[in-house]
């Protein structure tokens, strides 16, 4: 083989190694990983974790992956409704964003929550949705009760049973989808059917 041939192969090998290194670095860079996972993971944090505590408790931790795994398992043991897939996503996200080497003051995430991907993918429904009150009870318990109290009788958030907002459906939907004051947006967490079910259940209270 000619010297030129050696050089070509050599360059090719170096190039491939270099590419592999760059790709691996990108894959493992915690900031890149957390930014990629953030849209879904932040929705999960709101839906599953903030039932019991505000997310600021999470954001102040700086823990290695085994500690995050143990923490998520502890929360599941205590009743957090997190599926295996969601566990995997949450642990990868939390250990990438809130690892021991992360700075005290993290830069805010680029993605706004309201642009987050819905957790439940569903075909866009044609026509008006019909809420099912029986389903709404369970969805309310797992997502809303933390702030609005058992039976929607109020807590940190306002009482919703017999609340006039139930009669103003456009305002009700606007509030649930996009949030209002201290209430976060639920558009990325609850499906439209979920919201209709909750509304139906609340109307019957």
């Amino acid at each position: 083989m000619t010297n030129a041939g050696h050089m070509i192969i050599f360059s090719l090998v170096i190039g491939l190694v270099g590419l592999a290194v760059v790709t691996a670095a990108q894959e493992e860079d915690p900031a890149t990983v957390s930014a990629a996972l953030a849209p879904r993971a932040e929705g999960l944090v709101i839906a599953r974790c903030s039932v019991c505590h505000s997310p600021d408790l999470i954001a102040q931790q700086r823990l290695p992956r085994p500690r995050w795994e143990a923490t998520v398992e502890k929360m599941k043991h205590w009743g957090a409704e997190i599926s295996d897939d969601e566990t995997d996503l949450l642990v990868r996200y939390l250990s990438a964003r809130y690892h021991p080497g992360a700075p005290d003051h993290l830069s805010p995430l680029d993605s706004e929550l309201r642009k987050a991907e819905p957790l439940t993918q569903e075909p866009v429904a044609e026509g008006p949705l019909t809420g099912v009150a029986v389903r709404g009870a369970g969805i309310f318990e797992h997502n809303c009760q933390g702030c609005h109290g058992t039976g929607a009788t109020g807590g940190m958030g306002p009482k919703l049973a017999k609340n006039p907002i139930l009669k103003h459906e456009d305002l009700f939907w606007e509030t649930v989808l996009h949030g209002r004051g201290p209430m976060p947006a639920w558009g990325s967490v609850l499906s439209r059917q979920d919201i209709a079910d909750i509304h139906a259940w609340l109307l019957a209270r």
Partner: protein, 392 residues
């Protein structure tokens, strides 16, 4: 009833405090991981919005008593609904290894002999943020501590009325606070009978001469002077006298320390013991971190305390701990209160200086440079440290 303007104002502040703080920090921003709780200009530094956990800015500790609305707030589930602890509905039940079962209304308790004790109350996790490697939990820095006058009845008087039976070794406390999800364990705690029968252990219904605020456990909380605040159950509704320590997470897993030192970063395993007495500790309340002071006499001041022992010495170092100078202990001197101290410093050159302080108690226990690492980050009492700039 006459309420002074000042006390009325304080009550309004107490009422407004939480809602104002909560509304300022939208959960959306927190979900995105912004450290929105870092604002140190308010009456409290919020660590967790819900359940509400907040610490006192250290500048407030130049006052001997910590005002109610600036006193640190910590609970696992937040306060119970107000109607659950209203005077009309609230009752204290005493049962277990006692003769019969007993119920007390607030009126019953107010008719018993009242005692007032000035005592430090401190979260076991105060200073957790300084442990390395970092440990999980609320990242308290310096202000999850306060000194207040607590008025109430002796626990032993309440237990005496109920007549404790043979075999009793522990006294369990249950508050009215409840988790959002019923599968989360209740915050149930117990203390040994010896501490329960100590004449200074009280059930308090007043804090700094005013009715106990809801955030601090209204209408009744336990005060175990000299011990960490995890024993000071708030919103107390049930006392159970029993043979053993309480079962359950908050007594058998949480609030425990390893009995032998563990490798930093290791997880909890092996023998452990409940967190009980506070360890010797001091803080610098003035000057404040990053403050610029003029050359000439600068009053360095702060406070120091130690669980069940008296603080006998506070020292200050301006050379990273190579040499120490004794500060003057000043002000009121009570067994479980903190002691204020002061040292006049005469900086002669401009520049940045680090002020360190450490306290020593009557048993000879001295604050270490850094505290032993433990998996839950309890009992931090490393030297306190403040950096200041001297301008000529």
């Amino acid at each position: 009833m006459i309420i002074s303007r000042r006390s009325l104002f304080s009550r309004i502040l107490q009422g407004l405090g939480v809602s104002l703080i909560v509304n300022q920090h939208l959960p959306v921003a927190q979900a995105a991981g912004e450290e929105s709780a870092r604002d140190e200009s308010g009456p409290l530094i919020v660590r967790v919005t819900r359940p509400f956990d907040a610490e006192t800015p250290v500048r407030e500790f130049t006052s001997f008593l910590t005002p109610n609305h600036r006193f640190f707030v910590r609970s696992h589930f937040g306060p119970p609904p107000p109607e659950a602890v209203s005077e009309a509905n609230w009752k204290l039940r005493v049962g277990g290894l006692v003769e019969g079962s007993h119920e007390f209304t607030l009126t019953d308790l107010r008719q018993m002999e009242a005692v007032t004790i000035t005592a430090v109350v401190q979260c076991s996790g105060n200073g957790r943020a300084f442990h390395r490697p970092k440990v999980p939990g609320v990242q308290w820095e310096r202000g999850a501590v306060g000194n207040a006058q607590w008025t109430g009845v002796r626990l032993r008087d309440v237990l005496g009325t109920a007549a404790v039976q043979a075999g009793a070794r522990h006294v369990q406390f249950q508050g009215a606070d409840r988790p959002v999800v019923a599968s989360v364990p209740l915050f149930t705690r117990s203390i040994p009978l010896k501490k329960a029968l100590h004449p200074d252990t009280i059930l308090a219904y007043e804090m700094n001469g005013r009715p106990l605020p809801i955030l601090h456990g209204a209408p009744l909380r336990v005060i175990t002077p000299g011990w960490m605040a995890d024993s000071c159950t708030k919103w107390l509704t049930e006392i159970t006298v029993q043979a053993d320590e309480s079962t359950g997470y908050y007594m058998q897993t949480a609030y425990r320390l390893p009995t032998t030192p563990v490798e930093p970063g290791a997880s909890a395993s092996g023998q452990s013991t409940p967190v009980e007495a506070m360890v010797v500790k001091s803080l610098i309340a003035a000057p404040q971190e990053d403050e610029t002071v003029k050359s000439g006499p600068v009053a360095i001041q702060g406070m120091a305390w130690s669980g069940e022992a008296k603080v006998v010495k506070v020292e200050v170092s301006l050379d990273e701990g190579k040499t120490w100078e004794s500060a003057r202990l000043i002000g009121e001197d009570h067994p479980y209160a903190w002691r204020q101290w002061q040292l006049v410093w005469n900086p002669r050159t401009a520049g940045t200086f680090t002020i360190l302080c450490r306290a020593t108690d009557v048993r000879g226990e001295t604050q270490p440079a850094t505290s032993p690492w433990n998996p839950s980050g309890f009992l931090w009492n490393g030297w306190d440290r403040v950096s200041v700039t001297v301008a000529l």
